[in-house]
């Protein structure tokens, strides 16, 4: 089958994209597979200035998943553009994941990254639970989300803008609509779910920040429910993620309406996982008699049978 995915302003060879924060700047994985075979690469969240992140410990393994409170440690946009981006193979679209603390900063970052030819799209992280400013996260308030989205879209130099939604809200479809109304080209979801792990012997939390973001297979049912709901609430394309580890998982997200997927924590289970998924997804789709994604995407029947 032809596995190509056509998104507004962005064409992917296949629907597999490594998720932000789980694939470094891409280069780290060059020894584990051929980067050019991926649908796209979404790099670690970038900020205007380098960030050192939260105190240690900042990862904890939990059943079927993990918690992280990295706090967006990153090299900063300048180092990324000088020392990382030029070394990524030109055949693979690069999605820059943006993190900032105000709409103005988001716009500045979007302007810098949007102007770079090698950046195929911008993904706006309004949902990192590990960094907060003034109490509310942008991703938890439709108005704030609208403001940030507008600012990024206006500054993005015509590049597609993907707004990455937080699951830590009462109604994710309200957020999805707010982002769509503000001009988002696409949506991606879900970011991590806020969670906690504690140690009864030391009576201390397992993460220095107390809480962190849950990812991995444990969150897949929640992610699937949210992707399904958002796909029905908006008319822009949706990139689904949350707990994907197998080809079956990928097709489940496409069945409920996702156009493409991102794969995060699975890369920690083995570093070549995204590469093997590319082949496995194609083989499984062909097994199911699918010849183009349009035949399958969003065709979930509404009652069990």
């Amino acid at each position: 089958m032809d596995t190509t995915v056509h998104l507004p302003g962005l064409t992917l060879k296949n629907p597999i994209i490594p998720a932000s924060g789980t694939f470094g700047y891409g280069l780290e994985f060059a020894r584990y597979g051929d980067l050019r075979r991926l649908g796209a690469i979404c790099v670690k969240g970038l900020s205007l200035k380098p960030r050192e992140g939260n105190p240690m410990p900042r990862i904890a393994e939990t059943p079927c998943g993990m918690l992280n409170s990295i706090g967006l440690q990153n090299v900063g946009v300048d180092v990324f553009l000088q020392k990382k981006l030029p070394f990524l193979p030109p055949e693979v679209p690069i999605i820059a994941n943006l993190y900032a603390q105000s709409p103005e900063e988001f716009a500045e970052l979007a302007g810098i990254l949007g102007a770079k030819e090698r950046i195929a799209a911008l993904e706006v992280n309004v949902s990192c639970p590990n960094v907060r400013l003034g109490g509310v996260q942008f991703g938890q308030d439709p108005e704030a989300l609208h403001t940030v989205t507008r600012a990024v879209v206006a500054a993005a130099q015509g590049k597609p803008v993907i707004v990455k939604l937080s699951p830590n809200v009462t109604d994710i479809t309200a957020m999805a609509r707010a982002a769509e109304a503000a001009g988002a080209t696409m949506l991606s979801l879900i970011n991590t779910l806020t969670g906690m792990a504690v140690d009864i012997r030391t009576r201390a939390p397992r993460l220095a920040t107390g809480t962190g973001g849950l990812s991995g297979p444990a969150i897949k049912p929640v992610a699937l429910r949210m992707v399904h709901a958002v796909c029905r609430a908006v008319s822009i394309p949706v990139i689904g993620m949350g707990g994907i580890v197998s080809a079956e998982d990928v097709l489940e997200f496409i069945l409920v309406g996702a156009s493409a997927v991102q794969v995060g924590t699975a890369s920690f289970m083995r570093p070549d996982r995204v590469f093997s998924l590319v082949d496995e997804v194609q083989a499984l789709a062909e097994d199911l008699g699918i010849s183009a994604w349009e035949e399958f995407r969003g065709t979930l029947k509404e009652t069990p049978r």
């Binding site: 050192e52 990862i59 993990m66 992280n68 991995g216 289970m269 083995r270 570093p271």
Partner: protein, 254 residues
């Protein structure tokens, strides 16, 4: 590529069943002493997320060997493996020890940290002027690899079962490091309090030293940022790629 599937050849619990010698099929790698591998056996299923990092004790035509202590759910599942079981392995990872053949070198091992020095018993890594001092809590018989290594490297062991023993061991560490002097080199792998003590002594006496950190690891390849150590200049670097072995002067020790 660098992620491979290896089958288990043998799982050998020692006289103390909490220390396990794991022999896997040969890996096509030429690792250096101090480098490590991530292991994720099929029996982790989806329940356990991360692979587990282990020093490469041996890696040759006979196979890849790691020696580990059972301390939690991952190591319990590794200990339950049987010959023929599949393990996903990625490596060799990290930066190992930096040594020179002519330098008098002191290996300081604490507990299962001993396994990190295994490759120094093999060619081409044997050092003519090396000695090993091993601090341990379990009886020495619990560490069959100690006896294996002692055939190739001059080894001494000191057991710690009381606070007086611990005191005696730290005095011995201090005496040895001082005696070695600035022309020598100290390499240390063991529990964090030992690494700290050894680093302080090396800095105090101006003796070059390298320590191998055992930070918790999520990915082993530098991307989860869960394993970072703080450098002397205040930068946070991934232990799995910039380490696990660091020069004692490169890190902060407060």
């Amino acid at each position: 590529m660098n992620t491979i599937q290896l089958t288990i050849q043998a799982v050998t619990p020692g006289p103390d069943p909490s220390i396990v010698d794991l022999a896997l099929a040969p890996a096509p790698w030429k690792p250096k002493p101090g480098q490590f591998v991530m292991l994720r056996p099929a029996n982790f299923g989806q329940e356990l997320t991360w692979g587990r990092p282990f020093s490469i004790y041996r890696c040759d035509e006979a196979g890849l060997r790691v020696v580990f202590q059972v301390i939690g759910r991952g190591t319990e599942r590794l200990a339950a493996l049987r010959p023929g079981d599949a393990v996903t392995v990625w490596g060799p990872l990290g930066r190992g020890f930096q040594t020179k053949p002519e330098t008098p070198t002191l290996f300081l091992a604490g507990g299962i940290g001993l396994a990190a020095f295994g490759l120094f018993a093999e060619e081409p890594f044997r050092l003519p002027h090396a000695q090993l001092l091993f601090g341990h809590r379990l009886p020495l018989t619990a560490y069959p690899i100690y006896h294996e290594m002692a055939q190739r490297i001059p080894c001494e062991a000191m057991r710690q079962t009381s606070s007086a023993d611990i005191e005696a061991f730290s005095e011995e560490l201090s005496r040895r490091i001082k005696a070695l002097g600035p022309e020598g080199l100290v390499l240390c792998c063991g529990p964090t309090p030992m690494l700290r003590a050894v680093a302080r002594l090396c800095l105090e006496h101006g003796v070059p030293g390298q320590v191998s950190l055992e930070n918790r690891m999520g990915c082993g390849v530098g991307v989860c940022l869960g394993c970072v150590a703080t450098t002397a200049s205040g930068e946070r670097v991934q232990t799995c790629v910039h380490g696990p072995v660091f020069d004692v002067r490169a890190l902060t020790w407060d």
